[in-house]
C-alpha cells in the first residue's frame, strides 16, 4: 500500500468531485424546475470556457472583465435555448425532450469544434495557478485549491438563493407544482427561462475553472456525461444529492484509478467505473440517495 498516493488521489477525487457536484447541481436545477434532462450540459460548460478564453487571448481583455462578459453571455445563451428550442416542446413526450437536448449537444459540439479548433488551449497564467503549495505534506496546485474554494462559493450562493430570495422561492414553488405556482401569480415562463440562465451561467463558471485547472478543449464536454452517474446516485431531483453524488463519483473515480494502478492493471478503469456504479444503483435504488420516490396511484 502506498498511503501517500492513496491520500493524494483521495484529495484529487474530492476536488474533482466538487466540480462534478457543481455541474450536477446545474443539471438538477434544470430537471427539477423544467422537467428537462439536459444532455448538452457538458457543452454549456465547454462553451463558457471557450468564450472566456477567446475574450482573454483574442480580445486581450483583463481576466476579470472577460469573466463578467462570459457570465452575461451564458445567461443570454441559456434564455435563448430555453425560449427557442425547449418552449415549443412543453407537453411533448419525454423522448422528444431528451432528443432535442441531444441534438443541441451534437450541434454545439461540432460548431465549437469549427470555431475554436480541435486543440487544447491553455489559459494564460492569471493567478499564478501552476504554483504548488504544500498542505499537510501534500502537494496541491493553487488552481485546484482555487477550484475547491470556488465550488464551495457557488454551492453557498445556490443555497442562499433558494433559501432566502424571492426568485428562489418562486423557483421552488414552480418545481413543486407548476399549476399552483401559476395560480399564485408566478410567471412559469420566466421561471423556466431563469432556471436555464442560472444553469448556463454556473456551468460556464465551472467550465472556466476546469479550463484554468487543465486546459480548454472540446473533450471537457465529457464532464457532462460524468454528471449522469452523479445525479442518479444523488437522486435526480435533489440539489444536495447532486453535490454528494458528485463528490462520491469523483472520489470513486480516483479510487478506481488507485486499485487499477496498484493491483488490477487493466488500465482506464477510472473512466468506466462510474458507469458500472450507475447500473448497479439503478437496479437496487433507482431514485438515488436523496431523490423523491415516484409513487404512482391508480
Amino acid at each position: 500500500m502506498k498511503w501517500d498516493l492513496l491520500f493524494q488521489l483521495l484529495v484529487n477525487g474530492l476536488i474533482v468531485g466538487m466540480l462534478y457536484g457543481v455541474v450536477a447541481m446545474c443539471f438538477v436545477l434544470i430537471y427539477k424546475s423544467t422537467q428537462v434532462v439536459n444532455f448538452a450540459q457538458g457543452e454549456f460548460l465547454v462553451l463558457g470556457a471557450w468564450v472566456c478564453l477567446a475574450l482573454v487571448t483574442n480580445m486581450q481583455l483583463p481576466f476579470f472583465l472577460a469573466f463578467i462578459f462570459t457570465l452575461v453571455f451564458m445567461a443570454a445563451f441559456g434564455i435563448i435555448v430555453q425560449t427557442v428550442i425547449l418552449r415549443p416542446l412543453i407537453g411533448e413526450p419525454i423522448i422528444s425532450v431528451i432528443m432535442v437536448t441531444i441534438g443541441l449537444s451534437i450541434f454545439m459540439q461540432s460548431l465549437m469544434n469549427w470555431i475554436f479548433g480541435n486543440d487544447a488551449k491553455r489559459f494564460p497564467d492569471v493567478f499564478g495557478t501552476s504554483d504548488i503549495v504544500s498542505i499537510g505534506g501534500l502537494n496541491v496546485e493553487v488552481a485546484y485549491l482555487l477550484s475547491l474554494v470556488l465550488s464551495i462559493i457557488i454551492m453557498g450562493v445556490f443555497f442562499w438563493f433558494f433559501r432566502f430570495t424571492r426568485h428562489g422561492l418562486a423557483m421552488r414553488a414552480t418545481a413543486f407544482d407548476q399549476q399552483i405556482a401559476q395560480s399564485l401569480g408566478i410567471s412559469v415562463k420566466q421561471t423556466f427561462a431563469m432556471a436555464w440562465a442560472i444553469s448556463a451561467v454556473v456551468s460556464g463558471v465551472a467550465g472556466i475553472v476546469i479550463g484554468i485547472v487543465n486546459s480548454v478543449s472540446n473533450s471537457l464536454a465529457f464532464v457532462g456525461i460524468k454528471v449522469f452517474p452523479a445525479v442518479i446516485l444523488g437522486g435526480l431531483d435533489s440539489i444536495v444529492g447532486a453535490v454528494v453524488g458528485g463528490i462520491i463519483i469523483g472520489v470513486l473515480e480516483n479510487m478506481a484509478e488507485y486499485v487499477d494502478g496498484q493491483w488490477l492493471k487493466i488500465g482506464n478503469l477510472y473512466t468506466i467505473a462510474p458507469f458500472y456504479v450507475l447500473i448497479i444503483i439503478l437496479m437496487i435504488k433507482p431514485y438515488g440517495l436523496f431523490g423523491t420516490k415516484d409513487i404512482e396511484r391508480i
Partner: protein, 354 residues
C-alpha cells in the same frame, strides 16, 4: 390542417378483425411495396458504384432503425446504446467467422442472436425503471460495451479491430457490391416482413399496450417485465443483424466506429422517419445517411463564394444532423411518414383539405 387519421379509399371498409390485421393495410400499399423491391432488383446493376454503396448502407442502417423503432416507437422505451449493440453484432459475426470458421451465412444470424442476449441483459433494468432513468441506464450500457470492445482482444481484436471476410453462400462469394446489395435487400425485406408481422400479432399488441398505458396493460394481463425485456431483445436482434451486415460489408470492424454518436444517429433516424412506423425507419435511415452528403455538396458550392466554408465541411455535416433533430422535433414531431400522410390526405380530400 387538422388531424387526418390516415384516410382510406372510399369503399374500403373493414368488416372483420382479420381484415383489420392484414399485413398491408391497402392493396395500393402491397403493390407499392412489391413494385419498389422489384424496381430495386432491376435497377441495382445500373445505378453506379456511388449509389450502390449508399443503397447498401441505407439498407443496413434501416434494419438497425427498424429494430430501434420497436423499442422506442412501439414499446415506448428509450435506448441510447443502440450503436453499441450494432457494433456488438459486427464484432460477434467477425469473431465467429474468423475464430471458429463458421460460415458467414450462419454467423450473421448467430451474431444477431448473441446481440439479442446482450441486449436483454442490458434491458434488465427496464424491468424496474422507465423513461428518463432507463435512458441513462442505456447510456451506461453504451459506454460499458464500448470499453469492452477496446479491452477484449480475444473478441474484437482490441485497438487493431477485427477483419471480416465477404460472406459466401455455399462457396459462392458475394465479392462485388452488387451481390452484397442483394443480400442486404433480402435481409431488409425479411426484417420489414418480420416486424410488420410481429406488430399485428398478440405480442405486438402487447408491446403497444405497454407503451400507451402500462398500468392498464398490466391490469389486462400483459406481463410488463417480460415485454419490456423482450422488446430490448428484439431491437438488439436487428441491431446485431445490421451490425453483422455492416462488418462484412466493410470487411473490417474498427473499435472507434460505434460511439454514442452512432446511437444518436439511430435515434435521429426513427424520430425523423416517424416513431412506430416501419417504413418511417427506412425513410429516416435514408435521410440521415444522405443529409450529411447533401450538406457537403452544398458547402462545397458555398465555399466558392465564402472560402472560409471549406474548412468547416466536416463540422457542417455533423451540425446538420443535430439541426435536423431539433428542427424535426419542433416542426414535425411525427416525422416524415406523417408528412407523407398529410400530403396524401390533401390529395384525397382535395377541395376540403384546407
Amino acid at each position: 390542417m387538422g388531424h387526418v387519421p390516415n384516410p382510406r379509399p372510399a369503399g374500403d371498409f373493414r368488416t372483420s378483425y382479420i381484415d383489420d390485421n392484414r399485413l398491408f393495410k391497402t392493396h395500393f400499399e402491397a403493390r407499392a411495396a412489391i413494385f419498389i423491391v422489384l424496381a430495386l432488383i432491376v435497377a441495382a446493376p445500373f445505378v453506379g458504384t456511388y449509389w450502390l454503396t449508399q443503397l447498401i448502407l441505407i439498407g443496413i442502417y434501416a434494419i438497425g432503425a427498424i429494430g430501434l423503432n420497436i423499442l422506442v416507437g412501439t414499446t415506448g422505451q428509450i435506448s441510447l446504446g443502440h450503436g453499441a449493440f450494432f457494433g456488438f453484432g459486427a464484432f460477434a459475426s467477425a469473431w465467429l467467422a474468423t475464430s471458429f470458421n463458421v460460415p458467414t451465412l450462419v454467423s450473421m444470424p448467430a451474431a444477431a442472436l448473441m446481440t439479442t442476449a446482450v441486449g436483454m441483459i442490458f434491458g434488465i433494468p427496464a424491468a424496474r425503471i422507465k423513461g428518463l432513468y432507463l435512458a441513462i441506464a442505456t447510456l451506461a450500457s453504451q459506454f460499458i460495451l464500448q470499453d469492452f470492445f477496446a479491452r477484449a482482444d480475444w473478441f474484437s481484436g482490441g485497438v487493431y479491430g477485427a477483419l471480416a471476410d465477404r460472406p459466401d453462400i455455399f462457396g459462392y462469394v458475394l465479392d462485388t457490391d452488387l451481390k452484397y446489395f442483394y443480400l442486404v435487400l433480402f435481409w431488409v425485406v425479411v426484417s420489414v416482413f418480420g416486424v410488420t408481422n410481429l406488430l399485428r400479432s398478440r405480442d405486438g399488441r402487447a408491446l403497444v399496450a405497454v407503451r400507451d398505458h402500462y398500468l392498464s396493460a398490466e391490469v389486462m394481463g400483459v406481463n410488463l417485465t417480460k415485454y419490456r425485456v423482450l422488446s430490448f431483445g428484439i431491437s438488439s436482434f436487428f441491431a446485431g443483424l445490421a451490425g453483422a451486415l455492416f462488418g462484412h460489408y466493410l470487411e473490417y470492424v474498427s473499435v472507434e466506429g460505434f460511439t454514442i454518436l452512432l446511437s444518436i444517429q439511430f435515434l435521429a433516424m426513427i424520430i425523423i422517419g416517424g416513431l412506430g412506423s416501419v417504413y418511417g425507419s427506412i425513410l429516416g435511415a435514408a435521410f440521415i445517411l444522405l443529409l450529411p452528403q447533401a450538406m457537403e455538396s452544398i458547402t462545397s458550392v458555398m465555399a466558392l463564394v465564402f472560402p472560409a466554408m471549406e474548412s468547416g465541411k466536416a463540422y457542417v455535416k455533423q451540425m446538420s444532423i443535430g439541426a435536423a433533430i431539433i428542427l424535426f422535433l419542433i416542426f414535425e414531431p411525427e416525422g416524415l411518414v406523417h408528412r407523407w400522410q398529410q400530403i396524401r390526405a390533401s390529395w384525397k380530400l382535395f377541395p376540403f383539405s384546407r
